[in-house]
Assembly symmetry: C2
Homo-oligomer: 342 residues x 2
């Protein structure tokens, strides 16, 4: 019964939209941390942020930032920053939990949803990747179904919020809303087409095969997290005029036959899922209700009669919390628990 160790944690990219949610979630989760250091690029360094009730000055992220010894660094600063600085931090013995797409498909980097594949945290080599927001929320129901019935094929169609496109994406929707009311058109900052009053089948960049990078991420990350490199998955990812929380229509073909009541039980038992499925009372997952929560909400659970063992699901989660900050903090939480057990 020694003294519980307390850790030193860096938050890199603290001033961005997701970074601010990281701070909020860290305040809520109360990890055993003795010191936090907030870091950002030169442009944001020096700015002041309130965190745990006191003022923090954001430090500039440099080659020597991790020399003073950190246990964990939560990175949410974009792919190029992660590419450059995550290996530097890792080389100094700090475990990086990275929210960018930079390391996700690296075979030496585990890609983790703590309720789904916590065992993958153990084999990290200094970097643990946080999956894409639209992938994370799908993993909880799919993992539960995979374990009990096996998965033959998944068809995703997403309804993704603008918060996933950062502050400028949010502003494009808010400016569209205001322009509708006051008649003054504002220029778009982020999207190629108006997002207000529109659905954009275009998230991240297009690739040679006609898929967007977002669609490819969903397909590849699903296979990696569920540990089935050949899993049959396809995706159409769409930005909708919703500020926060992604919704997903997921069609799943299972390997084994199922009874619907048991399948519901299987989903309900999955850690991190809340079932909202009472059509008679107009109860189903909704973006406005998911916002601010860390659970993944699952409803519209019904048999797809067009295949032997098919099921349709409607899955909603806060893409900035469970889809980014909370999932990363939950990884840190499990990592610390692992250390404390050693």
């Amino acid at each position: 019964m020694g003294v519980m160790k307390e850790y030193r944690v860096a938050v890199v990219g603290a001033t961005g939209m997701v970074g601010r949610t990281f701070l909020k979630v860290l305040e809520e989760y109360q990890l055993p941390v003795k010191e936090y250091v907030l870091m950002a690029s030169k442009r944001s360094a020096g700015s002041k942020m309130t965190f745990f009730g006191r003022e923090y000055e954001v430090q500039e992220l440099t080659q020597t930032s991790f020399d003073s010894g950190f246990d964990i660094a939560l990175f949410s600063a974009g792919g190029s920053t992660s590419a450059k600085f995550a290996p530097i931090a890792a080389a100094k013995g700090c475990v990086v939990i990275d929210n960018s797409s930079q390391w996700r498909m690296d075979p030496n980097v585990p890609l983790v949803v703590p309720q789904v594949n916590p065992q993958d945290i153990a084999w990290h080599n200094g970097i643990i990747a946080n999956p894409n927001c639209s992938t994370i929320q799908a993993m909880l129901p799919l993992k539960a179904l995979q374990e009990r019935y096996g998965i033959k094929r998944v068809v995703y169609s997403t309804y993704q919020a603008v918060s996933g496109a950062g502050r400028k994406g949010w502003d494009d929707l808010e400016n569209g809303v205001r322009g509708f009311v006051d008649g003054q058109e504002r220029p778009l900052e982020k999207f190629q087409h108006p997002i207000f009053n529109n659905c954009l089948p275009h998230i991240d960049v297009f690739q040679e095969n006609g898929y967007t990078k977002e669609e490819t991420k969903m397909i590849e990350e699903t296979r990696k997290i569920l540990g089935d490199p050949q899993m049959r998955v396809t995706a159409t990812t769409v930005r909708v005029p919703v500020f926060n929380s992604h919704s997903e229509s997921i069609n799943v073909e299972l390997e084994k036959p199922f009874e619907l009541p048991e399948l519901r039980e299987v989903l309900a038992r999955q850690d991190g899922i809340v079932i909202q499925d009472d059509p008679a009372k107009d109860v189903y997952p909704l973006a406005v209700n998911a916002t601010g929560h860390d659970e993944v909400f699952v409803g519209r659970i019904r048999r797809d009669e067009s295949v032997e063992s098919g099921v349709n699901l409607w899955v909603v989660a806060d893409n900035i919390r469970k889809g980014a900050a909370s999932n990363a903090v939950q990884i840190a939480q499990r990592l610390i628990a692992m250390w404390n057990q050693q």
Copy 2:
């Protein structure tokens, strides 16, 4: 070479949101009509509407409305009105083109998208049904694919506009937009939950099997129009905060193998389709661009590698025009052409 016959046409339900679009579309299509009579329920009877540049007084729809001899009646007045008055009109020798769901699945009533199954117009027994909006736009690409490759299975996920829920649905979104800007919350008139800043996986009423009636309509109507009663189809239908034009993510498994360039050609040759598919230039179908048009816009055409012969499509159309009024007027146009050839 006789004189081209001119017809007498009734427009029933002229004062509703879709009814007004019927009038607009009729003005554009210039059918060989010698007289239009606008009809509506007692509540709206007596109101004045401008049509073809002159003022029409809306007549009350009664048991004897069709006694004076009509060739065609365009009904857009809801299921119960159609249930009661369509047979009365038909008994008087008038052909009813009905926009409600009342007669669609009646085996004695053809369900028609003119570019898809015009031959079905010929066997009418006095009533021709106009399909559900979300079904109509999917039929054009699916018919083209069915003819060339055969269809094994279809998975629909829809992104449906509030105009499909009528004036009150539109108002719920507009009030939500205004409330966001001025901070004053307005009560909902149509939807069970806020549609502004939200996606509602609930269109029409829920049924015993957990599907909404909208989803069941899409499944059953697809089978009827494509003439394949066993076709494997599933659907998740979702209301999104868009004023007009439905978008659809359609995943199709084909019977035969295909080459993507040829499949694109097959779609492009289909009457009524416009291909918008140039990702490098950010060109894909969008609700804001489809509004006001009668074509069905198809893009994001790409191979689904998760099955042997799969393809993903993004399909957008004006749900009030092609999804309702224009499709019905196009049926009338073909019916008249058929009569003129006899």
